[in-house]
Every structure is written in C-alpha cells, then in structure tokens.
Symmetry: C2
Subunit: 320 residues, 2 copies
Amino acid sequence: MTLPEWSDVVAAAGRLQGRVRETPVMQADALSARCDREVFLKCENLQHAGAFKFRGASNALLALAERGIQPSRVVTHSSGNHGAALARAARELGWPCTVVIPRDGARVKREAVAAQGAEIKDCEPGIAAREAAVAKLMAEEGAVLVHPYDDAMVIAGQGTATLELLTEINGLQVLATPVGGGGLLAGSVLAARAMSACRIFGVEPLEADDAARSLQSGQRCGFSQPPQTIADGLKATLGQLPFEILSRGVDGIVTVSEAEIVQAMRIVLEDCKILIEPSSAVPIAALLKGELGAPGERVGIILSGGNVDLSRCPFLSGNA
Amino acid sequence: MTLPEWSDVVAAAGRLQGRVRETPVMQADALSARCDREVFLKCENLQHAGAFKFRGASNALLALAERGIQPSRVVTHSSGNHGAALARAARELGWPCTVVIPRDGARVKREAVAAQGAEIKDCEPGIAAREAAVAKLMAEEGAVLVHPYDDAMVIAGQGTATLELLTEINGLQVLATPVGGGGLLAGSVLAARAMSACRIFGVEPLEADDAARSLQSGQRCGFSQPPQTIADGLKATLGQLPFEILSRGVDGIVTVSEAEIVQAMRIVLEDCKILIEPSSAVPIAALLKGELGAPGERVGIILSGGNVDLSRCPFLSGNA
C-alpha cells in the first residue's frame, strides 16, 4: 500500500467537485462562549449520506473509473456510515455494491445502506468476522474491496473536508477530528500540514483508545475484545496507512469518557440546535474539557456525521 | 404607516451585507423523500441570535442611523426572538435597549435577550399589557419603538431571507413561512413576487389562526383570549402592514394542529438532524400533511428559528 500525499487530496477535490456537498461551516457562537474559544464546526453531518465518508468512498470509486476499471461489484465492511457512503457512490456509477455489517450495528445506519440500494450481508461483531465475510465475496464474486480507512484514495477523499474548512476559515489555530480507523484524521493531516500551521488533534473514546496507545508506543495496538462505546463509528482499529501518517503528523490524541460524549451531544443540541451522532460529539467533548486549544484560540472541528439512531439516543424520551 | 416595497428589501440587503449571516440552504434529502417534494430549508435557525428576526431588527436600526437618528433608547415587546434580535442589533450600535416580555415567555428566549445585554421588563401575557408597558417607556424615556412586525423596515429586512433563498435555489414552485404577526411572510411576499413565479403560503397553528380568518373575511381579526399554542413565536395578532401586503400577495394560509407541530419537530430532528423551535415546525407540519405543493415540486421553507427551550421540548427525556 502506498501512502497518500497532499497532491492526492488536491486531485480528490477536483474529482469530487459537484459530487460531494461543500458543507457549511457553522460559527458556533453559544458553544464558543461556553468554552472560551472561537469554534468553527464543519458540518459533514449535512454531507450526502449523512457523513464525511461519502468523500472517501466517492474518491476511491472515481479513481478506479479514471483508470478504466469497472469492477463487477464493490464491497466493504462498515459499522454503517462508510457502507451507506459506498452504496451511494456505487449507485451513482451504476456499480453493484455489497456492505458487510455486524449484527449489532445501529439500525439507522443499516437502513441508510439499504436505502441506497446496496446488498447487506450480516456478520458477527468484531473485525475478524467482518474481514472473513469480505474475503469470501472477493474470492467468490471478484468483488473489489473499498476499505473504510486503510485505502490511500479513501484517505485522500476524506482530506477534502479539511481542505474546504481551511479554505473558508482563516487563521485556525487548532483542528480536531474524531479518530476510529483514522481515515478522516489522516486525510486532515495531509491537508492541514500543507495549508496551515495549525495544531492537529485526534479525539477518541477512552473505551476505544487504540490510537492513543498506538502513537504512544510507536506500534499499532488492537483491542483484546471489541470496544464498548456509544460512539459506534469509532470502534475500528487504527489502520496501517493512517498510523503511518499520524505518527509523523499529529500533535496528540485526546480521550474522552462515555458520559462526556453524551453530555457533548446534548450541549451541541442545546447550543447549536443540531443533533450529531456520538462519534461527532467526541471532539466536542474534548473541547468542553478544555483539552483543545487555549482560551481565545480559533478551533476547527469536523462534525463527522449525523446518523443518530433516535431510538438509542440517551436523552430522547422513551429511551433508556 | 407606509407599506414597504421590493425596493426596500433590496436596500435592506445592501445594509445588512456583512452584518447578518447569509444562512445556508439545506437540501433536505430524507425529508424530501418522505413527502415526495424537493424540499429546501433556509436555515434562519442559524442566523445571529437564532432567528430571522435579526434581519428586520438590524435593518430598522440601520435605517434610523442612516437618517442621522440616534435614539436615547430602543424598545420592543416580543415573545422572545425579536427581543433578542433587537438587543443584539442595538448592542452592535451601542444603543440602550429594553425588551418587554410576558411572564409566560420561554425561559430560553428570556436568557437570549439578557445575554445580549438588554434590559428586560416583565409584563402580563396578552398584547394589551405589552403595548401598555412599551407606551410607558416611550412616554417616560423617549424610547423609540421597533415593532416586531408592524414596521416597514422590519418587514423589508425579513424579506432578505427570501431574497437569498431565491437567489441560491432556482425554480422553486412553492414558498412557505410561518405566520404570526406576519412580518416574515410579508417580507417574503415582497421578495418572491419580484423575483419568482412561485406560489406563496403562510402557515399558522390552528390555535392561533387569525391570519387565515383575517384573509378570509377581508378584515383583521384578533383573538377573544390569548391563543394557546406550543408555537410561542406565533401568538401575535397579524399586523396592519402585513395584513395589507398579504391580502394582495399570498396564495393561501394553511393551519396545523398542535400534535402536527410536535410531530414535525421530531421528524425534522430525525430526517435533518436539526432541532427547530415549534414556530419553525409549523410549515413543515403543513408539508407533511401534503398541503404545500404537489408531488415532485420544489418547495422552499424558511426555518424561522432554533431557540428551543430544551426543558419544554416534548420529546426530550425528563420533559412532560
């Protein structure tokens, strides 16, 4: 696997023009006052298919098409957002698509995949079961894997969100994104290191803190058992390509508790009037703890997605 | 009182440039699929002070300043959004401001006024008590009233939201806004009649259906007692200037029930991941009932504001 570079992000931005939404940046006044920073939220929750993932998935397929490759089928495993994104990107090209989803995946994310017309294959929770199901499809049907994060074109595509944010907002001093598999953070590093002098942080749940441990120890660490976190988009293990990019390019990884994640969701709803998914609330939780930037600084955060399962949202009535 | 015209909306747009947010238009895919229309939401819930009201309030004060008038104090009565908007607009000019608010006003809206540094004067519910309190301030302090809707410059300012929407989105066939005092709808009529061939509807709670009754009977009707609706921004009686503009310019007034309003709030949260205030949900409720436009048509709706009192939101846990 080749590491993607800044030029790949620029190429992705060209490919994606008119295909992805140039999502709005919200200047979050109430939230800014609350945490004594100037906070800018890049609203990828308003991206097609409800998450930044559509950028990477589209870029990967368009890059294949550019090289004259038309696969009989594309396939991926995903807790949901990448699956829905790939399904939509494949549908736009008229390519068949299968998404392998663990049985415990959020209902709303399964429905989002189905709504895009992709085939769903169930698997057991955990990365091993997912990968086995994908390998079977590749062997039996000649399907082409579009990995959710360990793919240079996917990473380059994700970087376009940060490219847009830094083009629109001048003088950001801190940039933060959630980190699960690491595609968004790695793409953001490629864009931000080329465009800006800002400090770059990844934020992850304490219950799924493999990125923090990996960067600290200098080698990729996994989980002894599947992590339990409300941030279902961040359960993946840090990928190899993201690990290499982050090792050189990130200023730190911040971890937050489950209670802090839920509290951040509720505060974003109150202050910004938008409902974000738990994964998106993870960097907000770090901000609220005072662990991103210093007072008065301009902080950019990528709201990664908005695909909340309302029936699982802890502060909506009738729920646990 | 002189009726405002399209040229006043254009002048307002010039005055407001760089002072109001050019709010994003959300192409609401999930909501569009649900109601078989192509739905575009103009997100005035993301406007400064959380509602379109900042447009009208700012325009009124800037128009005064343009004429060399600097009042000793500006004053208004408001269920909240106009109050916060005027408070902010006055603060930006360094002018003292008092807002008269009924005792039963939403807590979050009172706090929003206070946060902008304005003085709050309490009054009893009902328009008569409000107007008496304002008259006292005008007599005793020489304060200048900026009426929430019966003011040509306020109406012209509100029209700039529709001006922006129609500039950004081509071929809208239907436009809808909530109607309370009628400032937003009247301003929208001025802009839309000049810029577009779209049909224009106002939507109001059945419990506060004075606009529907007024336009039907050809004369302004009030309420025998203060209306009881969750849409606290729409309790006002239709103003004289809006009445005259709407009588000639609106295609109809649709009414919706309280249950339909709450359901619309929840559906917007689920489909669009934004929390809107009940007044904003009123046109969405009409859309969901199939009473705005025909299948396949392009429908624009102005989301008027996002100042929800979370403690009063019926579907947030811990609430009634």
